[in-house]
Amino acid sequence: MITEAMVNLVFEDCRKSCTNIDIFSALQGQSILVTGGTGFMGKWIAEMISYINATRSYNIQLCLLGRDIQRFKDEVPHLAEKEFIALIEQDVRNIHDLPENINYIIHAAGSPDNREHASQPLRMIETFYKGTQAVLDASTRLSDLKNIVHISSHQVYGENDSQLLINEEYLGRLKSDSINHTYAEAKRITETLCSVYRSHFKLPIILMRPFAFIGPYQDLEKPWAINNFIRDGILGESIRILGNGQTTRSYLYASDMAFWILTALISGKTGESYNLGSKNSITLEDLANKVRSSLNNNIEIITKSSKSIYTNFTRLVPDTSKIVKAFNVDETHSLDDSIKRTIVWNQLNRSKF
């Protein structure tokens, strides 16, 4: 159950990340639809809009579309009861008509959880393909639509064995006949769909390719390294690095993520793609040490790996110069700060720990 202290922490995060609140005057009285609106991204968009509306009287309207509205109400009642938030329970694949007053769309439906991709790849492909097509079809019937942000994935870039940061033009190795690339291929077809609708129906669409995030509302059970490090650390169990400890990632704090998406929604240029993530790379070994330091304890760090020696390692870190230059955004939370705030927020959640 969310507590007042947890809500306050998130509000402060939004205040820090929202480095230019005046740009949101463009959204005054406008309506934004978020598909996948009850997930991690949707909750943070709602928190940021909540902060903006509370700080300025922009009266931005938000429509969150998700499959399990009751769960959203249970998890975040302080958001569900806001007057500016409307909740629609619907599977994105079945969308036909959207509320007529929608001006902006953030299409974030579809889970990035690779456990689901492994167990239900066909459902995942269908959700991305049919869901995206349904949203775009419905968008063509909106009379005052100003912009669509399609949330894609960094996985469309394929594998990166080089030391380079990944820019928006990067093309890595992808195997369409591999079960391991199902998610990436599904995301790639959604990008192609967006291009078709932009070209044929003149829909104003921009693509954002998220990398990794950390922050409140991110389920620590999700099968990603930083989540599991923090969870095991809070539980006082050993932190386990699975695979190569030199694997390199980067993590953007959740409130920065929300600010960047909303900024792109206002200012993004149709047809452009933007990386969404942190440029500050870190190896999994260093990350595990950071988590342990943040927890102030001496829990063990264990590496469990199939190989004794690695000749190469994966590096999934974005070059963010395009989005930083285009929207004048910046990372406001350091990784140390991000980890600490995520730990504090989860420790406040007494029902889980």
Partner: protein, 336 residues
């Protein structure tokens, strides 16, 4: 380079197959104490088919899961307490939660080698609780290396910190082990392990081939006490590994003592490779079927070897013990 091998000892779990799941609490206490003294890293305890499996279909255990686990827990301090879990037998609410409350440290969630999907919730639950979770692919001789890699990758996604393939039928030759372990080591991030059965006399050779191919986890039992022809004989395995320069953390003299104790106190007879076990291995039949096949074959006066051959043709897997009677009845009908 340090060549460290993690040893898991299922004497008190796989060995339960060899005695129709009749291990007593006293026997569990005695062997746990001996294994603890020897420095065995993981001691696996339970019904032969794992947590929650005691049933008319696969055999009722003498003592319930809770008693077995609580007994072992009282005698294990540095050694971790492990369990074998097959979703379907073990439920999360009824069995797994209780086991973790008792103090189980290591959970190995197993499925047939092509059905890793069924392990998602159980692996997720164990990791959620911060405990060690491994994935186990049983009857692995029934799938190709590439299929095993795809199934193992699912388990890796679900949170498994290592993947163990079981030669449940004792059907492998070293060349098979090399092919499959190499494929898994190349295809996975997490460590790979091997669990041998000795139907063709290959348990130690196959285990050594596994680590030479990149595996980092091996299973072995005292005197090879386990289903069918038994497992890799732990004390032999430790001796061979020492000779080869591998580190296991297990004291050789003390594991020899533990196996002597196990022979005297735990097992009514030492596993040997019986004639029917050889046919079972050649036919690729689950070693846990041995007791059932022997009993039913005797009852209807049919040749066990014919039963194994037919079970192998039908590609029967663990949990399908009820097919044995069907096969026997077919043989009886054909005889007439």
């Amino acid at each position: 380079m340090i060549k460290q091998i993690l040893i898991s000892d299922p004497t008190l779990r796989d060995g339960n197959h060899a005695v129709a799941h009749q291990l007593s609490a006293k026997q569990i206490a005695i062997y746990s104490t001996a294994a603890e003294k020897a420095g065995v890293p993981i001691v696996e305890v339970g019904h032969g088919n794992g947590l929650g499996a005691s049933s008319m279909q696969v055999g009722l255990s003498l003592v319930d899961d809770v008693t077995m686990l609580e007994t072992a827990r009282r005698h294990l301090f540095k050694s971790k307490l492990g369990i074998h879990v097959i979703p379907g037998f073990a439920t999360i609410k009824r069995d797994l939660m209780r086991a973790l409350e008792i103090g189980v440290d290591v959970v190995r969630v197993a499925s047939h080698c092509t059905e890793a999907d069924i392990t998602q919730r159980h692996l997720g639950f164990v990791r959620e609780k911060g405990k060690e979770a491994y994935g186990v692919l049983m009857m692995s001789h029934m799938a190709s290396g590439s299929v095993l890699v795809e199934e193992a990758q699912k388990m890796e996604h679900y949170g498994a910190e290592g993947i163990i393939i079981m030669d449940s039928a004792g059907a492998y030759l070293p060349s098979d082990v090399e092919e499959k372990i190499t494929a898994l080591v190349n295809g996975l991030k997490v460590p790979v392990g091997f669990h041998a059965h000795n139907n063709l006399g290959m348990a130690i050779a196959n285990s050594i081939t596994a680590i030479e191919s990149g595996a980092k986890i091996l299973d072995g039992t005292a005197r090879g006490f386990g289903a069918g022809a038994g497992n890799a004989q732990l004390e032999v395995l430790i001796a061979v590994l020492e000779r080869m320069g591998y580190i296991t953390g297990i004291d050789l003299y003390k594991i020899l003592d533990a196996s002597d104790i196990a022979e005297k106190e735990v097992m009514p007879s030492i596993p040997v490779i019986k004639s029917e076990s050889i046919i079972s291995g050649l036919s690729g039949v689950f070693s846990g079927f041995a007791k059932h096949v022997t009993r039913i074959s005797k009852e209807y006066d049919v040749d066990q070897r014919d039963v194994y051959q037919e079970l192998g043709k039908r590609k029967v897997v663990g949990g399908q013990e009820d097919i044995i009677i069907e096969v026997v009845m077919d043989l009886v009908r054909n005889r007439k």
